[in-house]
Symmetry: C2
């Protein structure tokens, strides 16, 4: 990842600083047989792009960052609240049949199961529903809570978590979607998880497409 | 996306060039009440990062690129062959029941249906399979080709297509996976599509996670 194409001279400077840093601008200039003034724009670019660091009375040293690592920081800065979709929810007593209909009508891959007040009870995927339908069940009689994943096995995220971490959870736990929750303490002092959104592999793919577009 | 943090002075210069470009360095210097020499490092950074372009005897003009657009080029350079997974395939005569079992055993979301020789015949998703199972069908009797999408409705990709374009197809056509195909002309002079891989939203999400990791 190199968002900035360095010139051969700039690459040479990076090599010198990697090898001999911390090193003053004067000494770098001497090594490349140019004046300090000539090098000033190059050194400015290298420090502003974060490839080199400079400290007064010490000189230049190599930050260990590639030019691409600032992009990395950008990717890691985005938050779930900037990307989340609305959650598509059903109630626990919904039948598997009605849950499947909701899946098609809302055109989603994962349903979030909630209790009254919108609190997280479960998550049900297309595979969970397929498993029930190929069993010998009457899917109009079986409630969706027979097919869903429950806490503590639901992988969740929150509004302030980074999208990068949410994406890593999707991959690590091999799920297509995470409910975005807000923690609430109810009247009895119990912690409840209010469902406020969802993050899916589609969201991440969409973001990847946007990152690659010229704006 | 700004891998380079511009200083307020550099931002001001960009604004001036956006408004009045093409404009000479002298005129920019005049507008900000500084000498041409003082501005030289700023102008060097802005042109080298690709934000401004400069032409001899014309002056500076705004390139329309953000500092991030070089990253954009990096994202757009990656190819399907660098990322693809192996395809998970079934034959047309496979029953819907056996297709669902394959889905669970291979732990994938989409199956690619092939004829003898591994040529593309169809694609079948979890939703396609769900639709059959909630109908009044005996899924051990129904062949998978009754549930699959066929050409010309299958969205495909090739080894040399960019991952960015493949990701855009996933989003635009709202599918979870694309078969990666190689075009073959058979003995009869007919074009056939040999299935050589698949690209999924999981692949893109995984790539996003890797892009955000410090290497």
């Amino acid at each position: 990842m190199t968002p900035i194409q360095l010139t051969p001279r700039q690459k040479k400077i990076v090599e010198i600083v990697k090898r001999s840093g911390p090193i003053t601008g004067e000494l770098i200039a001497k090594e490349v047989n140019l004046t300090r003034a000539t090098l000033r724009p190059d050194l400015a670019i290298l420090t502003m792009s974060g490839i080199l660091d400079a400290r007064p009375r010490v000189g230049y040293f190599y930050s260990g960052k590639s030019a691409g690592s600032l992009l990395v920081e950008e990717i890691r800065r985005m938050r779930v609240k900037d990307l989340k979709s609305v959650p598509v929810v059903v109630r626990e007593e919904t039948s598997v049949y009605d849950a499947i209909v909701t899946l098609f009508v809302e055109d989603v891959g994962t349903l979030i199961v909630v209790s009254e007040g919108g609190f997280l009870e479960g998550v049900v995927s297309r595979k969970d529903l397929l498993k029930v339908t190929i069993g010998q069940n009457d899917v109009r009689q079986v409630p969706v809570n027979m097919a869903m994943t429950r806490m503590p096995n639901i992988i969740i995220t929150t509004m302030d978590e980074t999208i990068h971490l949410a994406a890593a959870k999707l991959i690590e736990h091999q799920v297509d979607a995470l409910p975005v929750v807000r923690k609430i303490i109810n009247d009895q002092g119990l912690e409840k998880l209010e469902v406020v959104g969802r993050i899916t592999k589609s969201n991440i793919t969409q973001l990847f497409v946007e990152l690659g577009e010229d704006k």
